[in-house]
């Protein structure tokens, strides 16, 4: 009997020490029912008040320099200037809900690319774990996501709280954040209504 206990105990210790090397990797955030979150709501509410009337936004300008997934320099502000509204979607390969909403974002991208809408809207993905190149490739292939995707940069945390992902912010032509961020995964029709809401805040429509 005691030998059995001892051997199990040894097994436990062995497993424990085997695993100890990469604790960080092993424990990604556990999904809660409310699997997502983002910025301090205070500043967001202020913005909402100022946007009741007109497109005058005086929040911070989302100005971040990074590279795209192919390693080419990418300026977020420069990209935003080319569109009326830029949907900036933060995701990671280990985040199930993030991956699940990417096909929906791709089909929106395909629609916006045609340029048949009144306003020009762009989807921009920001990958939080681009270092896992193999995983990124597999996710992009699986979801068919062909919209621009860039590598996360620390400075972006000035504009968005990424305690929970997926998290999405919307930028106007000047790089100002428009309305509340969206937290959690959504499907295509929900995305459309969120986009229309943000365009409405800017006095535009789809």
């Amino acid at each position: 009997m005691n030998k059995i206990v001892l051997s199990f105990l040894l097994a436990a210790l062995l497993l424990f020490s085997v695993g100890c090397g990469d604790v960080k990797e092993e424990i990604p955030p556990v999904e809660t029912p409310a699997a997502s979150e983002t910025p301090e709501t205070g500043s967001v509410e202020e913005q909402e008040e100022t946007t009741v009337e007109l497109p005058q936004l005086d929040g911070p300008v989302f100005d971040a320099e990074t590279v795209n997934l192919d390693g080419e320099t990418f300026n977020v502000l420069g990209f935003a200037r080319e569109h009326d509204l830029t949907v900036v979607n933060f995701w990671a390969t280990w985040c199930g809900p993030c991956v699940s909403e990417m096909p929906g974002l791709q089909s929106l991208h395909a629609r916006f690319e045609k340029g048949e809408d009144q306003s020009s809207v762009a989807i921009l993905g920001v990958c939080l774990d681009a270092e896992n190149a193999g995983d990124v490739k597999a996710v992009l292939e699986y979801t068919g996501a062909a919209y621009p995707n860039i590598v996360f940069a620390q400075e972006m945390l000035e504009y968005v709280d990424l305690m929970y992902i997926p998290a999405t912010v919307f930028l106007d032509k000047d790089g100002h954040i428009v309305g509340d961020p969206v937290v959690g995964a959504m499907d295509e029709s929900l995305w459309l209504s969120e986009i229309e809401k943000r365009l409405g805040l800017l006095g535009l429509s789809l």
Binding site: L14, V30, Y142
Partner: protein, 294 residues
């Protein structure tokens, strides 16, 4: 200091444990969870990673997360921790340290007429927790994969009432962004949690008895755990008070190390002749005779 009764002691330990495990108190106000280094450590109890106060990780959640990740990794560190917990104090963690167990104990204090579950229903239902462990925690996250070889933490996502009450609800109250993300899934999980809460008012520790996968894991090792109860067969007068007082439905004389025993110690307090003792390989209390009835 005046001598505290064992149930008073237990209540005190439960309170201190709940506090120590969830010491990130500002999180409850700010609606944020703690993300420091300690979060890499598994706690020995079912305490949600996403509780705003939580300093550590729930082993059941961590295990599922590793299974559900791309490639279906096995977190040896988590499994090792669980095995270590199981083999040392085992379900003592359930009875004395688990905050969700403590909550269930409090719920049962609500003075309403308690349900009497007939043995023919109670006994089979006890196996449900093993189904939770082997199906919801292990099999589904390992086997139900999507096109990028990812899965979901099925138990956390679809059942765990501790997650709903410790993580979902406090975050939703304190954090507007979380609130905005709530939908049908939350309603479903809240309904499950309320159902279980109701059951716990009527049945002592209904979740522990019938559903908890971590309790089930510890229960598998109950016979091997270093911390054990022992009944002195010579001292025992067969009065049956221990079995009568046990709220988990165990008869300590027959099975002092039953898988269902959460080591609360009520039986020790109830024994008129001090025949029930606690022992580890290093020391044994109260009981001097070697005879072990098992």
């Amino acid at each position: 200091m005046k001598k505290l009764s064992i149930s008073m002691k237990r209540r005190l330990v439960q309170f201190l444990s709940a506090l120590a495990i969830n010491l990130n108190l500002p999180g409850f106000i700010n609606g944020n969870i703690y993300t420091g280094q300690l979060k890499g450590i598994c706690v020995p109890v079912l305490n949600c990673y996403s509780c705003p106060g939580a300093l550590g990780a729930c082993p059941i959640g961590a295990l599922q997360s590793s299974f559900a990740a791309r490639g279906g990794k096995v977190a040896y560190y988590v499994l090792g921790s669980m095995l270590l917990f199981a083999l040392t104090l085992g379900r003592f963690f359930c009875g004395w340290l688990c905050p969700f167990g403590a909550l269930q104990g409090l719920l049962h204090k609500i003075p309403v007429k308690k349900a009497k579950i007939p043995n023919s229903v109670d006994r089979p239902m006890r196996y449900l927790k093993y189904v939770m462990l082997f199906v919801m925690v292990i099999a589904l996250p390992l086997l139900v994969r999507n096109g990028v070889d990812m899965s979901q933490p099925f138990f956390c996502k679809w059942i765990c009432p501790a997650g709903t009450l410790e993580g979902g609800v406090p975050l939703a109250i304190a954090n507007g962004a979380v609130r905005s993300a709530l939908g049908g899934q939350f309603i479903l999980k809240l309904s499950i949690a309320l159902l279980i809460v109701t059951a716990c008012v009527l049945i002592y520790r209904a979740f522990c008895k019938y559903l908890c996968p971590l309790g089930a894991f510890y229960a598998l090792f109950a016979k091997l755990s270093l911390y054990r109860f022992k009944v002195d067969a010579h001292a025992c007068i067969g009065c049956g008070k221990c079995a009568a007082v046990c709220k988990m439905g165990v008869d300590p004389v027959k099975t002092p190390n039953s898988a269902e025993c959460i080591r609360c110690g009520d039986c020790i307090g109830a024994c008129p002749v001090n025949a029930i003792g606690r022992e580890t390989p290093f020391c044994s209390r109260k009981n001097t005779k070697k005879e072990n009835v098992e």
